[in-house]
Symmetry: C3
Subunit: 342 residues, 3 copies
Amino acid sequence: MTYVRNAWYVAEWSVNVPVGKPFGTTILGEPIVIFRKPDGGLAAMANRCVHRGAPLSLGRCEADGLRCMYHGMLYNAAGCVTEIPGQDAVPPNAKVKTYPVVEKDSWVWVWMGDTVADAALVPKAIGLDDPNWLLGHGHMDYDAEAQLINDNLLDFSHLSYVHASSFQVGDSFAQEQPVVTPLDRGIRYERWTTNAAPPLGANPTLRFDNYITYDFLIPGILLMWSGGFPLGTAAKFNHGRPDFDLACNGVNFTNQAVTPLQPGKARYLFSWGPHCKHGDAILRDNMIKLAYVAFNEDKTMIEAQQKVLHRSPDFQIMPSRHDRTVLLYTRLVEKLAKQEVA
Amino acid sequence: MTYVRNAWYVAEWSVNVPVGKPFGTTILGEPIVIFRKPDGGLAAMANRCVHRGAPLSLGRCEADGLRCMYHGMLYNAAGCVTEIPGQDAVPPNAKVKTYPVVEKDSWVWVWMGDTVADAALVPKAIGLDDPNWLLGHGHMDYDAEAQLINDNLLDFSHLSYVHASSFQVGDSFAQEQPVVTPLDRGIRYERWTTNAAPPLGANPTLRFDNYITYDFLIPGILLMWSGGFPLGTAAKFNHGRPDFDLACNGVNFTNQAVTPLQPGKARYLFSWGPHCKHGDAILRDNMIKLAYVAFNEDKTMIEAQQKVLHRSPDFQIMPSRHDRTVLLYTRLVEKLAKQEVA
Amino acid sequence: MTYVRNAWYVAEWSVNVPVGKPFGTTILGEPIVIFRKPDGGLAAMANRCVHRGAPLSLGRCEADGLRCMYHGMLYNAAGCVTEIPGQDAVPPNAKVKTYPVVEKDSWVWVWMGDTVADAALVPKAIGLDDPNWLLGHGHMDYDAEAQLINDNLLDFSHLSYVHASSFQVGDSFAQEQPVVTPLDRGIRYERWTTNAAPPLGANPTLRFDNYITYDFLIPGILLMWSGGFPLGTAAKFNHGRPDFDLACNGVNFTNQAVTPLQPGKARYLFSWGPHCKHGDAILRDNMIKLAYVAFNEDKTMIEAQQKVLHRSPDFQIMPSRHDRTVLLYTRLVEKLAKQEVA
């Protein structure tokens, strides 16, 4: 599978990387340990002690860095061994690869590229502490290639089938095409459903013009807004992007991140919740419960798909019209990946 | 391992393929979905959607066929896609391989050959609804090559050892040879045990001439009759096939099917029970309980054997005299398989 | 990984190989069954019936040997088939490889070499029935290469980190080097810790000169004595080997054996307990409980290390000064293994 390396990958929710407890993971097959310095700042490095290969994620956070708890090699945040118990000198090559790491919008992001990390490339997500939103969050690990999850998120026609019962999306949803626009680092999806039942919570006999839009960005970040508008709004905005201040029902947002851990394994991280003017903590908690139901439907389907593909190495996909979006994104990934190698 | 392809393989008990619920399996390593049309008739096809490889066994049975529940491709019973949500035309190559499938004697049989399916080759089993028999049924999945289970069923000398406690078969059983006759599509096993304890249920101090006979047929179907006869019956029939109407004790029958799912995996399906004149539902249920005990003894042995063979790729078997039957059947399989390739 | 073949490997604790129950294992990847003859003596042979490869460890111990419980082949202690049910003659090549096996010091030892077994090479361990010691015992199976466990036992500086909480060994322990002496078939480790807290049990405000010494012998046998001595003893013996009769606190002993089962799998067997003059059964039982806690700490670390190494085939260790002992032993293994091939 092809992935862009010059990108910020979400390693985990910030809250799951507490002070004093190293966090071990893999991204693109590389073992990585992330830990907090005493000042709370993050460091990320190869999760493999230079001495005998023990994982540093079983190590101990100390004032001066991270100590491997097999034979006591101490690493500073620059990945250099600064102490080897039982000997005076430390060889100059006693160091591990480090990774640029930032904490932003409640996520820990790791730069996997070989070039200088570009802080401007961190996608503009919304953190759990944003006062405008009431966001819950969760995560799942997949026995599937990250690209299969990306494909899933790039073709929302699956809502009519995979989520027929959980999200109660009818077949008609899949029969219409969204408006899709290429972005520099992804694609933008927009879609009006006019004269429709309310998206969330409200009296189901009422009717709205519902709008959903998401950006799906390298290396696998989904940022989605949706809401119900007064009938006629779609026409008023010529079926284009509305002013969200006009929304009168169920405005909600979700951040999602898909991270390739290693071949055939991926992590899926998500938030979801209402705008503060369109819901409360109870609605948020119910939305997260519903998200777990629905995202487990995706997991069941995608992991089953992965098994079929694993047994069918020669299988070629037969794209449908909905795959336009998938192909747009896939070609962007391939283009950027090719530039990296050149 | 060598298997005959021009043959009907048992996919499952009919009752486990209900209306409205697609059944996914593999046979000879090929992923297959079997489902019932609204009229109850069966259809079988490749369990892999042409679109993105999702398993159709997670699909939805509809009036017009089977719908993939990933992105909604609808398949008719001929394996052709008839609807792609969001687009008008369906490409003509949007179809999957289909398999001839019949329902007979309570089993779902799938033809795995590339030639025209030959209905006459379905082995003549006995269904669970046959009024002459009271048959219970069961199934087990093995982590072992189907051929190892076939080998087991072709050499009943294992009863003296594997089933020493469950079936209480003494060492002497293995010391005698059965009469074995080649058939066009298998072998026939016959054996008298004279002046012996009753096979099932009766006063254990009584003595009978017990007779067992089974046909073991391509691709792995065992059909076995056994019963106790008055002393002298073996001699009267010159140790050949008796008239079963003369049986006076414990006449019983078992259908068994061994299906190669994929390399190293097999399914074992079995019925067992008394003739209606020689038992009742209570005896039938006790026989199935006993079958599970005994067949788990086989499973333990064969799965352990499989592990040894897996670690010993160069191992050559050293056939015993009892292996005559195994070799007869194995040569038939090799002959038929060779003819298929020619 | 390189292992010496002309050596006695510990298969299991004697008590786990009872009369009447064959014991199946693998050593260096070879499947082996060990069983007791009616006189209690041991026999060891390939755990794979010549007939169809069934494991003999599922067999039945009889007066005349071990009977395969698949189709009844009977083996004598020389590995020869002596009976094949249903046929008169036994082919002369119906035999399996046998292994020299001895029972000594509560362990079952198997010679894996192709040369004549050398009884003098059985390491001089201490049995569970030795009246001078109160030894408990245990065992663990590792998902790790045996060599990684050997490496662990050859570098005790890990005590300061892996066992910081269980054995309460401070960082200072790792900062000093032991005295290491090469032996013909291993290495000897010796170390004084002067003016230190008592090793076991005693008033923690008291101070002792603690001494530990172990021999680590081919193919992976650790024999360790430790104890506390009156202050000044280290100086008196010039920091060399003391007279253990002078010990005044916590004299204890542990036998340990590391056996490579197959690539990536190992068995770890251990005893531990006080000298009869320095403890009782309650102390012994508490020591075994503590051993399980501590040895599980090793297991967690080493299995995690194994996973990292498995994913990092090109990883090269960077030896520290403490690795002197590991390298000494590793070179001995390589030298002996090379001699075997020559």
